[in-house]
């Protein structure tokens, strides 16, 4: 008797447990549709407003960012900014997406510039123009080349924060040994890179040039060859019909064939090329400005930076992240005060940039005394800023994250599997058009 009832109880308990779990799962699914809104448990302490700020900076740069936040918190009494690391750029985007729909989004966030369009399109970003005007600032204060991703439908949805750009890093010692000068054009690059190749017993001991496995560098070269990543209408790609794409990849494959180019394996490619450059196993590399600081501290050769070489023209994409204000924020005035501090105050982003080596993005920062002094001391850093006059971001589209995956596949097919270039680009074009039409 009691055994039976216990059996029944066990079964019932299990059933209830399982079905409760299932039901909970379902209701969870349905409840997430209310958009926006910051529900904040960290309510103001002693009448202070708390601003949540999400960022993607770890390591040393994370410490510099924490220092910036601390400087802001100490500079005034009314607002406390809580900065939280949310993983890398992509992870932060995922976290923002889920938090916005759950109503737990922060007030201010760092967003990798190529994702700004995605959020702007969902209308979850605040237009910063009125705030800018109310603080007596204007958009002209900012470096034009870095504002490419800031506009969406005539709204100013983001401002630059930690921005970088690819440049040419050169092991000058190796070039000097051969009496070569730093290449300024694709043709010169081809000659120089080939001259630097060292081959022993059928094995390459040294390559001329390398670059991480990333869409950044092919895009830079497409722009240099006078193509655009997307056409002006945003309906297709802008480097197939004009042959720019084929020219870029043909050039890269030619270099790869003679050992002039080392194209690294996809996994951890950035670290691999940095390492090989430090060891003198590649003489030059295309790489972000973000590594200048660490390279300066660890090279034992004459290290210089230069513009990416030109084909038809000089061109460079930009990278790094912008700062946005979420439309659902309940403390927009305070949120703006924090953004304004970063943009304007010498203790704001200016100090962070001096510490970290990211690019200065307002004329005031560029002209400031500490920045000029730093450039005087480390001219390598100035090169990157000077190159910004040629900055052009042609991969601006809401669907970029999706197209990017396809572009990576195309790069893999060509660079690793030696697939036919026109055929691969043709497939990519069709795939991109399909995504863009959605």
């Amino acid at each position: 008797m009691s055994r039976k009832s216990k059996r029944f109880l066990t079964a019932a308990a299990l059933l209830i447990g399982l079905s409760a779990g299932l039901l909970a799962g379902c209701s969870g699914n349905g409840s997430g549709e209310e958009a926006g809104g910051t529900s904040d448990a960290d309510q103001p302490k002693e009448g202070k407003t708390t601003i949540q700020f999400w960022h993607s900076l770890g390591g040393k740069n994370g410490e510099y960012m924490d220092a910036l936040i601390q400087r802001f918190n100490e500079s005034q009494d009314g607002i406390t900014v809580v900065g939280t690391f949310q993983g890398g750029y992509d992870e932060t985007v995922t976290k923002l997406q889920q938090a916005i729909s759950a109503g737990t989004a922060p007030d201010v966030s760092m967003v990798e510039r190529a994702y700004v369009q995605l959020f702007a399109d969902s209308e979850v970003l605040e237009d910063l123009k009125p705030y800018l005007e109310s603080s007596g600032m204007s958009e002209d204060l900012f470096t034009e080349g870095l504002m490419g991703h800031s506009y969406f439908n005539d709204q100013l949805v983001s401002l630059p924060l930690n921005r970088s750009t690819p440049i040419l890093h050169v092991n000058k010692t190796l070039l000097d040994e051969k009496g070569l000068s730093i290449p300024k054009t694709w043709e010169e690059m081809k000659t120089v890179a080939n001259a630097l190749v060292v081959k022993e017993n059928g094995e390459f001991k040294r390559y001329g040039l390398s670059m991480p496995y990333d869409t950044w560098y092919p895009i830079a070269m497409i722009s240099q060859a006078d193509g655009r990543f997307f056409n002006d209408e945003g309906t297709s790609i802008g480097f197939y019909d004009n042959g720019a794409g084929e020219k870029v990849f043909r050039y890269l494959k030619d270099l790869q064939a003679t050992g002039a180019l080392y194209y690294p394996p996809a996994q951890d490619s950035g670290n691999i090329v940095n390492q090989m450059f430090l060891e003198g196993r590649v003489a030059m590399m295309f790489q972000s400005t973000g590594v200048i600081g660490s390279l300066l501290g660890s090279v034992d050769f004459d290290y210089e930076t230069a513009f990416l070489p030109q084909d038809v023209k000089f061109a460079t994409p930009t990278g790094g992240a912008n700062v946005v204000m979420l439309e659902g924020s309940k403390n927009k005035e305070a949120a703006w005060e924090f953004i304004r501090f970063m943009m304007e105050d010498p203790n704001g982003a200016q100090q962070f940039i001096l510490d970290s080596g990211y690019l200065p993005f307002t004329t005031k920062m560029v002209e400031s005394e500490p920045m000029q002094a730093l450039w005087e001391k480390e001219p390598n850093r100035k090169v990157a800023y000077d190159q910004l006059q040629y900055a052009v971001d042609t991969n601006k589209h809401v669907a970029w994250p999706e197209v990017m995956h396809e572009f990576f596949s195309a790069i893999e097919a060509i660079m690793y599997d030696n697939e036919d270039i026109p055929a691969t680009l043709d497939t990519f074009k069709k795939e991109a058009e399909r995504i863009l039409a959605e």
Partner: protein, 246 residues
């Protein structure tokens, strides 16, 4: 890893790689621990992993017992559901779970990292198989002695399956202690985060990372796993030996 954690930045960058650092850099550990609230992270990690294991055992043992030794209607269907839960990856469920927990308002607590793991489908499955190997006669003997079902379960079945329980607990410990993805998506503030995220914060987003510092952090992260493994290893070997005989 241990070697790198004691090197200088220059040594980590050298080629060929340095095996034995010229002078051990114990400061790397201090540096790693200094870069964030590591004590808090460690405390969170401990609370999360241990509550998960305790709850899993509390739920798993009765469930496995029921599935192994009872006959009831819909048993295979229910067991099928358990196996199904075992096959759904986290990547599918994290958004609904996050939204649900955000609605409950518990995102700023440790619960989102504990509740979803209270039941361990893999554990139920493994333990059921183990229980099924235990002879029915033992249970019947206990019943004749008037033992309650509860007592049979806790005082006979559970002690007999120590090797299986140790295996499950260890697997569970390792996977939750090392989990990065789930805590990252489930937490928005540093106060509820575990060690793994603290370690990830040591990495540079762009630029060259200080591997010696990261490795120092990793050594600290892995240490408890090694300790637990040494404690449990005897039991685990037993579990594999037993299942091998059958």
């Amino acid at each position: 890893m241990i070697s790198t954690s004691l090197q200088t930045f220059r040594e980590t960058m050298a080629f060929p790689p340095t095996w034995i650092p010229a002078s051990p850099q114990w400061v790397n550990f201090a540096e790693a621990m200094k870069s964030g609230p590591f004590l808090l992270f460690a405390r969170n990690s401990l609370i999360i992993t241990f509550s998960i294991i305790v709850m899993q055992l509390a739920i798993m043992i009765p469930a496995a017992y029921a599935f192994a030794k009872y006959r009831f209607k819909g048993k295979s269907f229910l067991f099928g559901l358990v196996l199904l839960a075992f096959m759904i990856p986290h990547q599918v469920t994290f958004i609904p779970v996050y939204l649900m927990l955000a609605e409950w308002g518990v995102i700023k607590t440790l619960l989102p990292q504990i509740i979803p793991f209270m039941s361990n489908a893999f554990g139920i499955f493994l333990l059921r198989q183990y229980f099924m190997q235990l002879p029915e006669e033992m249970i019947e003997a206990a019943r004749i002695d008037n033992a309650s079902e509860f007592a049979i379960m806790w005082r006979i079945m559970a002690p007999l399956s120590k090797p299986a329980l140790a295996t499950i607990a260890l697997f569970s410990f390792v996977s939750h202690w090392n989990d990065y993805f789930w805590p990252l998506v489930m937490t928005d503030s540093a106060s509820v985060r575990p060690l793994t995220i603290g370690i990830a914060m040591l990495r540079e987003t762009e630029g060259i990372s200080n591997w010696h510092i990261i490795m120092a952090g990793n050594v600290v992260l892995v240490l408890p796993i090694l300790i637990v493994y040494f404690i449990c290893s005897k039991q685990i070997v037993k579990a594999f030996v037993y299942s091998g005989i059958k």
